[in-house]
C-alpha cells in the first residue's frame, strides 16, 4: 500500500481534535520560548519586562550559570564543590550504565524465557506479571538499608547493579519479539557449530537491535532526568539533574534569581533535546506492549 494511502477525511471530530492539539502545542511551546527568552535577561529587566525581548541579551547568564552550577558534597572529612562538567560526567556514567543494565537484563531474560521452554521460564513470567501488578508502597528505607549493606550506596556502579532488573514492561516487549523469531535461525547456527552464547550475541541480539536501541534510549533519557535516585542513593556523586534540583532550591546570591534558574534549566535540557532530535523517529511508535494476563 502506498505511504499515506490511509490518510483520512477531515470530519467534525477530527477538526475538534486538531484544534485541541493546536492549543496544546501552543501551551507547550509558549512557556518554553518564554523561559528561553527570560533566561537571557538581567533580573531587573525580567521584573520590569516579563514578556518582551531582553533589553540587553545576556548570553553571559549561561557562562555564569555554567560556572556557578555546583553541588557541595562530602569528600573524606571535608567538603568540596562538584561543578557542571563533573556532574555531566556522572550523568553520562549513571544514565549510560543504568540504561545499559536496565535494557540488557530484560533482553537476556526475555530471550531465555521465550526460547527455552523450561517450567522455570513460565514461572518467572508469571512472577514478573504478578510483581508488576502488586503495588509495594514505602520500601525506600529498606532499599537504602540494602544498598548500604551490600556496599552499593554512594557508588555509580552500585546503581548499575540495582537497576539491572528484569522487573519491568520491557521484559514483555523482548519476550514478544523473541517469541516471533523463527526457530530456523538458531537451528542453522547450531548445525554450523555455534554455541548458545554465540547464538545469543551474534544472531539473536542483532535481530532485536532496533528495539534494544529504542529501549536503551528511553531508559537513558529516564535515568538522565532522574534526580531522586541519585539524591537518595548517591548523595556525594551529583548528576546534572540532581545539580539542577539543588540549583533551583538556592535562595541566596546571584543564582537565586528567576532568569538564572531558567538558564540552569535550559542548560540541562539542551543535551536531552539534542538526543531527542537525533532519535525522535526511532522513539515514537516503535514499541508495543501487550496486556498483563
Amino acid at each position: 500500500m502506498k505511504k499515506g494511502a490511509l490518510r483520512s477525511k477531515i470530519t467534525p471530530l477530527s477538526a475538534v481534535v486538531f484544534g485541541v492539539l493546536i492549543v496544546y502545542v501552543v501551551l507547550l511551546f509558549v512557556p518554553l520560548l518564554w523561559a528561553l527568552i527570560s533566561s537571557l535577561k538581567a533580573d531587573m529587566d525580567f521584573r520590569n519586562n516579563l514578556f518582551g525581548l531582553p533589553k540587553k541579551w545576556l548570553f553571559q547568564n549561561y557562562s555564569d550559570t555554567f560556572l556557578g552550577f555546583y553541588v557541595t558534597v562530602e569528600s573524606g572529612k571535608a567538603f568540596r564543590n562538584v561543578f557542571m562538567p563533573e556532574q555531566f560526567l556522572y550523568s553520562v556514567l549513571y544514565a549510560g550504565g543504568c540504561a545499559f543494565t536496565a535494557t540488557f537484563v530484560p533482553c537476556l531474560v526475555g530471550y531465555l524465557t521465550s526460547r527455552f521452554k523450561y517450567k522455570f521460564s513460565g514461572i518467572l513470567t508469571v512472577v514478573v506479571i504478578v510483581c508488576l501488578t502488586l503495588p509495594v508502597v514505602g520500601s525506600l528505607p529498606s532499599e537504602i538499608r540494602m544498598a548500604r549493606f551490600f556496599g552499593l550506596y554512594d557508588h555509580i556502579w552500585g546503581m548499575w547493579i540495582m537497576k539491572a532488573n528484569f522487573l519491568n514492561m520491557y521484559l514483555l516487549v523482548f519476550q514478544a519479539i523473541f517469541s516471533g523469531v523463527q526457530g530456523e535461525f538458531t537451528e542453522a547456527a547450531k548445525i554450523d557449530g555455534a554455541g548458545n552464547t554465540r547464538i545469543f550475541f551474534a544472531i539473536m541480539l542483532p535481530l532485536v537491535s532496533q528495539t534494544f536501541l529504542t529501549v536503551y534510549i528511553l531508559n537513558f533519557i529516564g535515568f538522565w532526568n532522574d534526580y531522586q535516585t541519585p539524591l537518595i542513593f548517591m548523595p556525594n556523586i551529583p548528576t546534572v539533574s540532581y545539580g539542577l534540583y539543588i540549583f533551583n532550591r538556592r535562595t541566596e546570591g546571584q543564582f537565586s534569581t528567576i532568569p538564572m534558574k531558567l538558564t540552569g534549566s535550559v542548560l540541562v535540557f539542551l543535551p536531552v533535546l539534542a538526543v531527542f532530535c537525533v532519535f525522535q523517529k526511532r522513539l515514537v511508535g516503535n514499541i508495543t506492549i501487550g496486556g498483563l494476563k
Binding site: M1, A5, L6, R7, S8, I10, T11, L13, V17, L21, Y24, V25, L27, L28, P31, W34, A35, L50, F51, V109, L112, F116, Y118, L124, L132, T133, P135, V136, V137, S139, P141, S142, M146, M162, A164, N165, F166, L167, G195, N225, Q228, L244, N248, R249, K261, L262, S265, V268, V272, Q280, L283, V284, G285, N286, I287, T288, I289, G290, G291, L292
Partner: protein, 299 residues
C-alpha cells in the same frame, strides 16, 4: 555433553545473576521492609529489635487522628482519578488522530512526546515561574488586577499541580498507543473505509480492541501506583509541600529523604498498610478489565 544438557547449562548460568538480583532487590528489599514495620530502633545498641504490632497500630491511629495522613490518602486518590480519567481517553484520541494520518500528525507526535523526554525538574521550573510570574503579570497588564500565583495560593495550588500532571502526561501513553495502533492490518481499515464505516466505529471496533491490552496495562499499573506516585510534588516544593496538595507517594519520599535510621520503621509501617489497601483494588481492577472490553471481530 548432549545438546539438551548444554542448553540447560547455558540457561542456568545466564539466568542465575538476574534471578539473584531479583531475589535481593525485590524479594529481599520487600521482605526487609515488612520486617522493618515490626521493628523499632534501639538507640543504645544502634540496632533494630522486634516490637510487634506497635508501629502498625500507631500508624493506624495516626491515620484516623491526623489530618496529614488522611489528606495524603484522599489527595492520592483524587489526583489519580482525575489524571487517569482525563489523560487516558485524551491520549487515545490523540493517538488515533496520529494513526489516521491527519494533517501535521508527525509534528503532533513529536510535540506530544517531547514533554516526556524533558526532565521533570526542567518542566516544573518553567511551569512554576510561568504560572507564578508570567500569568499574574499578564493578568495585571491586560485586566489591571493583582493576581496571586496559582501554585502559591492555597486555594488553587491543588488544581495547578493537577493541571501540570495532566498536561505533561501524554508522551508515554502516546508512545505505546501509537505503537499498538500501528499493528492494525491496513487492509482491515481500508475495507472498513470502503464499507463506509465512520471514524468512531472504526476506532471502537477495529482500533480499540488492538489497543485494549495496552490500555488495561496502563490502567492497572496506574492503580498499582496510586500511593507511590509523587505527582511531581517533590520537584515543585522539595520537602515543603503543604498538606493541601500532599499525596502519599510524595509524603513517603519526602520523609525518607530526611529520615534518620530510627524513623524507618514508621515509614515501613505506613507502606505496609497502604500496600494491604491497594493490592485488592489493583487485583479487582485487573480482573474486571479482563472480563469486559471490546472484541476484535465485531465490526
Amino acid at each position: 555433553m548432549t545438546e539438551k544438557k548444554k542448553d540447560l547449562l547455558f540457561y542456568i548460568v545466564a539466568i542465575s545473576l538476574p534471578v539473584l538480583q531479583f531475589c535481593i532487590f525485590y524479594i529481599g528489599v520487600n521482605f526487609n521492609s515488612l520486617l522493618l514495620a515490626f521493628q523499632e530502633y534501639d538507640v543504645a545498641s544502634g540496632s533494630y529489635r522486634l516490637c510487634g504490632f506497635t508501629n502498625l497500630s500507631n500508624v493506624w491511629e495516626e491515620f484516623f487522628n491526623t489530618f496529614l495522613l488522611k489528606n495524603g490518602f484522599f489527595n492520592s486518590l483524587k489526583v489519580w482519578a482525575l489524571t487517569t480519567v482525563i489523560s487516558l481517553p485524551l491520549s487515545l484520541l490523540f493517538s488515533f488522530f496520529i494513526y489516521k494520518k491527519f494533517p501535521l500528525k508527525n509534528f503532533f507526535k513529536v510535540a506530544l512526546f517531547l514533554p516526556s523526554v524533558i526532565s521533570g525538574m526542567v518542566t516544573v521550573v518553567i511551569y512554576l515561574y510561568f504560572v507564578e510570574r508570567a500569568i499574574p503579570g499578564m493578568a495585571e497588564k491586560l485586566f489591571g488586577y493583582e493576581m496571586v500565583g496559582w501554585l502559591g495560593n492555597v486555594d488553587t495550588q491543588f488544581g495547578a499541580v493537577l493541571f501540570y500532571n495532566i498536561f505533561y502526561s501524554f508522551g508515554g501513553y502516546i508512545l505505546l498507543f501509537v505503537g499498538a495502533m500501528n499493528s492494525v492490518d491496513p487492509s482491515v481499515s481500508e475495507a472498513g473505509a470502503l464499507d463506509g464505516v465512520s471514524g468512531l466505529r472504526e476506532f471502537w471496533y477495529i482500533v480499540f480492541p488492538k489497543v485494549y491490552p495496552t490500555f488495561c496495562t496502563f490502567l492497572v499499573l496506574s492503580v498499582a501506583g496510586i500511593f507511590t506516585n509523587q505527582f511531581s510534588l517533590y520537584s515543585f516544593y522539595g520537602i515543603e509541600a503543604s498538606n493541601n496538595v500532599m499525596t502519599f507517594g510524595y509524603y513517603l519520599y519526602a520523609i525518607t529523604s530526611v529520615a534518620t535510621t530510627a524513623e524507618y520503621p514508621r515509614i515501613a509501617a505506613i507502606g505496609v498498610l497502604m500496600t494491604l489497601f491497594v493490592i485488592p483494588i489493583t487485583l479487582l481492577v485487573k480482573y474486571v478489565l479482563g472480563k469486559i472490553g471490546p472484541k476484535e471481530d465485531a465490526v
